[in-house]
Subunit: 171 residues, 2 copies
């Protein structure tokens, strides 16, 4: 499949089978994240792979009660290091949210290639998630995703047409 | 090519040929961005495609004098809308940097698939870039990338080993 095909087929999956994921698939998915570019190649990221059943349930509760994420065999928690990133993107922001996002989207696209479902989870209580996983004070949690075989085939939700999101030589 | 192959082959390209890019390639690259997921599917983004020779030179100057970006036939300027995004990621941040990053990395991976080079440019003076492109006050510029056929084959810069960036069930 081409990248564009994978992008076209990716959905935010909100129902999961409990079927285990082959180790080779997990390794390729993590490798896709590992190879991401980052500001000054600082790689200010760490991914916590959660398999423990009780912990998954607690993460789901801390994610606005989105209980479906605990049904996936794994939850990936994407963390960023503000202390170890490029600190002057556009002269106004730290690069870690960008860096960690690139890595997590790599993981998500490779998951799609493997037939695995994912879902960007942005609605979560960061302090609770950090406490559950013993994430140090100076580290941020950017997002979570469940990882597992889809138990549903979500509809495509539509996007703005290209004319609305592109302009030439001027905003 | 699989997604992982594309990810493995992508480099930050810092030398470009002036060869024009076929219209179909440009459309597929933009389509990859358009289809990106975003918080609540709000799609808080716009991409300015810069072709004007003088404007490209000025953008390069505003990007820490990285003159190579003006050699590419196009520069893509990725903008985000703080007013139109999900405002409570992790209960502490606006989603637009994440949303725009996903879309721009989609564009970059599809560019690689098309044989085109790109380079995340984070070192730029946002106020100057906004002024050059008439970007409204309330809109942010997240990053730029040149887009064109590579004039160099950059070495792989290396990454941290998987053991350093993964943990299980606890940070």
């Amino acid at each position: 499949m081409s990248v564009l095909d994978v992008i076209r087929e990716r959905r935010s999956v909100r129902a999961y089978k409990s079927d285990p994921i082959p180790e080779e698939s997990i390794l390729r998915v993590l490798e896709a994240a590992r190879l991401a570019p980052s500001g000054k190649n600082l790689q200010p990221w760490k991914f916590v792979v959660v398999q423990d059943v009780e912990l998954k349930k607690r993460l789901a509760k801390a994610s606005n009660q989105q209980d479906f994420i605990a049904d996936a065999p794994l939850i990936i928690v994407a963390c960023g290091f503000p202390d170890e990133c490029y600190r002057a993107m556009g002269r106004y922001m730290e690069s870690w949210p960008v860096d960690v996002t690139i890595a997590l989207e790599h993981l998500i696209l490779q998951a799609q290639e493997e037939g695995l479902g994912t879902c960007w989870i942005g609605s979560f209580e960061e302090e609770e998630v950090k406490s559950l996983l013993d994430v140090p004070e100076h580290v941020k949690v950017l997002a979570l995703t469940p990882l597992g075989y889809p138990g549903e085939v979500p509809e495509f939700r539509g996007r703005k047409p290209l004319e609305k999101i592109i302009s030439y030589d001027s905003f």
